[in-house]
Amino acid sequence: MTLYRWILVLATVLLLAASIYTWIYRPGSEVVVVTTTSLYATGFLDMAREAYESIYPGSIVKIVSLGSGAALEAASRGDGEVVFAHAPSLEKQYIERGVLREGRIIMYNYFVIVGPPDDPANISGAETPIEAFRRIYQAGLEGRAIFISRGDNSGTHVKELELWRLAGIEPSGDWYIESGSGMGQTLLIADEMGGYTLSDIGTYVIYRSEGRIALEKLYEGGDELINIYSIYLVEGAGDEARRFYSYIVENIDMLIDLFNQEAGTKIFYKASEYDGSLRDTWETLAGDAD
């Protein structure tokens, strides 16, 4: 047999083998989950997936980690059946477009403003995160501070833009840098450049405990910095997707306990722990963007 025939045969056999493998070992049922990166990178969703698959053997949960904006867009194209997101204003747009059939707030935590330990903009003395952002802006104009933005339409980026808007600031200039990358990469850039950034607490805690960054948590707490995670079932999703969705909604408090226990620190809070109505807070955040 000549070499070219070998190539033809081998390519065909390998391609066929892949298709046959996919076909034979296709699970009894499967669900494609698209998610914000923070829930995946912290390991929360892998833990939830393992718990679910152990109860329903033969079911396969395929998790694609994209960021809130990209995850919602993928869902609207029919490429995801269950969505995890933490960007209320974006979520609301997709709910109004009829992409999401039903949804539930599952948990929350807080964003933190992190920055260099010497805190040149003195944000740790700020009363509100809005004031902290104003101080960063002022110091930025004077050349004493820089801010690193995600710039990627993720939940964290959406939150950051909302804070600038509330502060009445149009963020642009030499002091404002868009990383266009994920949270981890953005924290590394902020650390290298001695800049401030807004981070979800989960990613920050991981990077900090691994010793990757020296950034300090300079401002935290307050309803302005609340970070609300929701789960959605996408219009047209299959039975397996519905079952997974219901499982998460019903068992979320157990999963949060399990996760926080393994992490050794409280990274996520149950919706029931919130003092007041989380739904109202969500509505306020969602409405703000209109």
Binding site: T2, L3, Y4, R5, I7, L8, L10, A11, L14, L15, A18, S19, T22, V32, T37, A41, G43, D46, I60, K62, I63, V64, S65, R77, G78, D79, G182, M183, G184, Q185, T203, I206, Y207, E210, R212
Partner: protein
């Protein structure tokens, strides 16, 4: 991601996907390049300029275009290819086609005189011509496929956009490395990178040796 079993699994998947992709690319790159060389003149020059230009096409853009094509609401959505290893194979095959074609062009264009002689005997574009020419340039052709494989196994954009980095299904070396970096586990990312490099080196050595044997 820490178990040796998972690393082995990712290794096998990476090799499988990228090997299939580079072989697939060569099934069409070989005859089309040989035909272009045979025709010579404008067609040949145009062909090679096109391939050289496409070599610089950003991988994420190829990924995005194929994503739109394979997406459930896209023209080929019915095939349900998105987030499967097959989608990664197709994407990587598209990616390495210009590279493999250019490499084969280098090899075959030196043999143009002989190619025309052969074509007189068998007819232009005949399978015998392709097979004989490939046979006589074994080493160069295998080398081209190996370079295509190396390009495919090391790329991230297509694997991530079309495969989705799904654990146990479409996770390959580069997407696993990207994920571990995202998780802040740089040591694991570096280990994975070194394993990829090592496998690449060993594989290339084996294939080159086999090529020289004959």
């Amino acid at each position: 991601m820490s178990l040796p079993g998972e690393v082995v699994e990712i290794t096998i998947r990476s090799l499988y996907v990228s090997l299939t992709a580079s072989l697939l690319a060569s099934t069409w790159s070989i005859p089309s390049t040989i035909y272009a060389v045979y025709k010579g003149g404008k067609l040949s020059r145009g062909y090679i300029s096109l391939m050289n230009t496409l070599m610089g096409f950003p991988t994420v853009l190829i990924g995005l275009l194929l994503y739109i094509l394979f997406s459930r609401s896209g023209p080929l959505g019915i095939l349900r290819l998105l987030y499967t290893p097959e989608a990664m194979i197709i994407g990587q095959a598209v990616l390495v086609t210009p590279l493999v074609s250019s490499m084969i062009y280098e090899v075959v264009s030196k043999e143009r005189g002989e190619l025309i002689e052969m074509a007189k005997t068998f007819g232009a574009g005949g399978r015998e011509v392709v097979e004989l020419l490939v046979e006589e340039n074994r080493e160069g052709i295998i080398g081209s496929i190996v370079i295509g494989f190396q390009r495919a196994v090391g790329e991230l954009g297509i694997a991530l956009m079309l495969g989705g980095n799904i654990a146990g299904y479409t996770r390959v070396f580069t997407t696993a490395i990207a994920l571990e970096i995202h998780k802040g586990r740089f040591d694991l990312a570096i280990s994975l990178g070194l394993i990829l490099l090592l496998i690449d080196l060993v594989l290339v050595a084996i294939i080159r040796l086999l090529g020289w044997r004959r």
